[in-house]
């Protein structure tokens, strides 16, 4: 059987996955706190091809070959999104640029040192409580208030304070200002609210360990030592009355979707060429 037929088929499937990822990015062009994802592909494991048998052929290894490609992971790009002003008191945005000793991060939040080690920039997130009590993390600060005064995400999950409890306020949010460190102040008195509630901001050292859950939320799947509360010297600020826009680049997405489509087409053509080779083998060899 022709080996390349399946290689091309796997190429079509991998390109379709890439297309799906870009489509999802395009769909979320206006979703606050959305982080773009990029589909990473990887070659199938290499195998060694050997010649064997025959009198005229020297037997022994010919070389290595890959027999296809697959979409391995959807890596999130955690670059800071632009801020857009909304003037709603419950709209909060995180501006995060956390420094790591000796690392100079590029726009995608990655640094490769001279030994080839990759360091990803830590990112700060709001901490919310999912339905099963698990803590999840979000950059979507379009919050609202529940009937009992609990601060909720747009889809209704409680936002946690530093004490690990949901933030509950009885008054109007018009009278509350949020400090850069997440402390809630009374606008009239210019002092922290009773009980000094403060938003819990969690820093994730390796944001690649976050798994997207939908509704702007992420679950942390890495080592528990890799997350920590916000420290005073971290370069993280909370801005009230702003939302962080999606960090999807529309022009880049259009290029990616076209390239995925055309690569898909190229693989389809390869399959057609294999098909015509097979057709020759089946119908024309030995034809009188």
């Amino acid at each position: 059987m022709l080996r390349g037929l399946y290689t091309a088929a796997s190429g079509m499937i991998a390109q379709q996955r890439r297309h799906d990822a870009v489509t999802n990015n395009i769909a979320n062009l206006n979703t606050p706190g959305y982080k773009a994802m990029n589909s990473m592909t990887r070659a199938f494991p290499e195998m060694l091809v050997s010649a064997m048998g025959g009198d005229n052929v020297r037997s022994g290894p010919i070389g290595k070959i890959n027999t296809g490609v697959f979409a391995e992971e959807n890596r999130l790009s955690f670059g800071q999104g632009d801020l857009s002003e909304t003037d709603r008191p419950q709209d909060l945005a995180i501006v995060s640029d956390i420094l790591v000793d000796g690392a100079i991060f590029d726009a995608s939040g990655k640094y490769v040192d001279e030994n080839g080690n990759v360091i990803f920039q830590p990112q700060a997130f709001f901490t919310v409580q999912a339905a099963d009590g698990e803590r999840q993390y979000t950059r979507d600060g379009s919050f609202k208030t529940g009937l009992d005064g609990t601060l909720l995400t747009a889809d209704g999950a409680p936002v946690l304070g530093v004490n690990g409890q949901p933030i509950v306020l009885n008054g109007s949010w018009e009278d509350i200002s949020v400090g850069a460190d997440g402390v809630l102040y009374s606008k009239a008195l210019q002092e922290p609210l009773p009980g000094s509630p403060q938003l819990m901001i969690t820093v994730v050292n390796d944001p690649n360990q976050l798994v997207r859950q939908g509704n702007g939320r992420f679950r942390y799947a890495g080592d528990p030592a890799g997350i920590r509360p916000l420290a005073a010297d971290d370069r993280v600020q909370i801005r009230q009355g702003y939302l962080e826009r999606s960090n999807v680049d529309a022009a880049q997405s259009m290029v990616d979707i076209m390239s995925a489509l055309r690569a898909y087409e190229a693989n389809q053509k390869v399959i057609q060429f294999y098909d015509s080779s097979l057709q020759k083998a089946v119908n024309e060899i030995g034809k009188i």
Binding site: M12, Q16, R17, H19, D20, A21, V22, T23, N24, I26, A27, N28, N30, T31, P32, Y34, M37, R42, E72, E73, N74, R75, L76, T86, D87, R88, V118, D140, S142, K144, T145, L147, D148, G149, A154, D155, N170, G171, S172, N208, Q209, V211, R212, Q213, G214, N215, G216, A221, G222, A250, S253, M254, I257, M258, L261, Y264, E265, Q268, I271, Q272
Partner: protein, 271 residues
């Protein structure tokens, strides 16, 4: 159907809803006391295709599993209660609120509703007295939840605190009619638009948790007689948003077309 097609189709309908909302705002640019609606998107459920642990190869940065997103939805729609500009009309029945407050009116079915639409009128009752109602004919309530009746031959004056005074011809003593009901909105996201520029609440929601009666001497709120509050829709903002949303609609439609082309290619594998 392939995943891209599902994701873009779902997103197109969400964006359509946002367009509808923007159209509603633009249509009400001249509606007295109209408060613009805002909405935010949220990404739809992400499913995780599990991976065997053998997939954890060197160079991989994320935990095992391949995530697949399914587009976007309109996560929430809210009212933007910011102040609209006041316009002088000279009509004593036009009342505008400056600050965070709403008038309370009684619906025909006896339930309460709230509004900033202060284009009121005085209708004559069979007794010769006149009652303060909205331009839709709904009774405007006083602080005690009763109707506001202006005795025959007198005109209504409203002080900045919302006190109602019936003033007669010179030489007669003004009559105090109490105070117009003003409520402060604590949780604007729980107010529902019930048409005619009125806001109500969902069944089962305790009104006290959403709105609160203002004190007799309100701070930061004043009532202006002879003014109407213009809509707080800013056409430039709405148009900018409209362009943005329309372009993302277009982009999603292109993703859909592209997904369709892929399906066509798969169908035509065998010429």
């Amino acid at each position: 159907m392939n995943n891209s097609m599902i994701a873009s189709a779902a997103s197109i309908s969400a964006i359509q809803r946002k367009l509808d909302m923007l159209a509603d705002n633009v249509a009400n640019i001249n509606t007295v006391g109209y408060k613009r609606k805002t909405s935010t998107f949220g990404d739809l459920l992400t499913s995780l295709m599990p991976h065997e642990t053998d997939f954890n190869l060197p160079g991989r940065a994320t935990p095992p599993g391949y995530t697949q997103g399914w587009g976007v939805r309109l996560a929430s729609m809210m009212l933007d209660m910011t102040q609209g500009t006041l316009q002088s009309t000279g009509n004593p029945n036009d009342v505008a609120i400056e600050g965070n407050a709403l008038f309370q009116v009684r619906m025909p079915d006896g339930t309460d509703a709230y509004t900033r639409h202060g284009a009121f009128q005085l209708i004559a009752l069979p007794s010769g007295d006149r009652q303060l109602v909205t331009d839709e004919g709904l009774a405007v309530l006083n602080r005690d939840g009763g109707d506001i009746i202006v005795p025959e031959g007198r005109n209504l004056t409203i002080t900045p605190e919302g006190n109602l005074i019936a003033v007669g011809i010179e030489g007669t003593e003004p009559i105090e009619l109490g105070q117009i009901q003003l409520v402060q909105v604590l949780k604007p996201e729980l107010l529902r638009s019930v048409g005619d520029n009125l806001y109500g609440m969902d069944a089962g929601v305790n009104p006290d948790a959403v709105v609160q009666q203002l004190p007799v001497r309100p701070v930061g709120v004043s009532v202006r007689q002879g003014f109407t509050e213009q809509s707080n829709v800013n056409l430039a903002d709405e148009m900018a948003e409209l362009i943005n949303v329309q372009r993302s609609y277009q982009l999603n439609a292109r993703a859909l077309a592209s997904a369709n082309e892929m399906l066509g290619m798969a169908n035509n594998l065998r010429g």
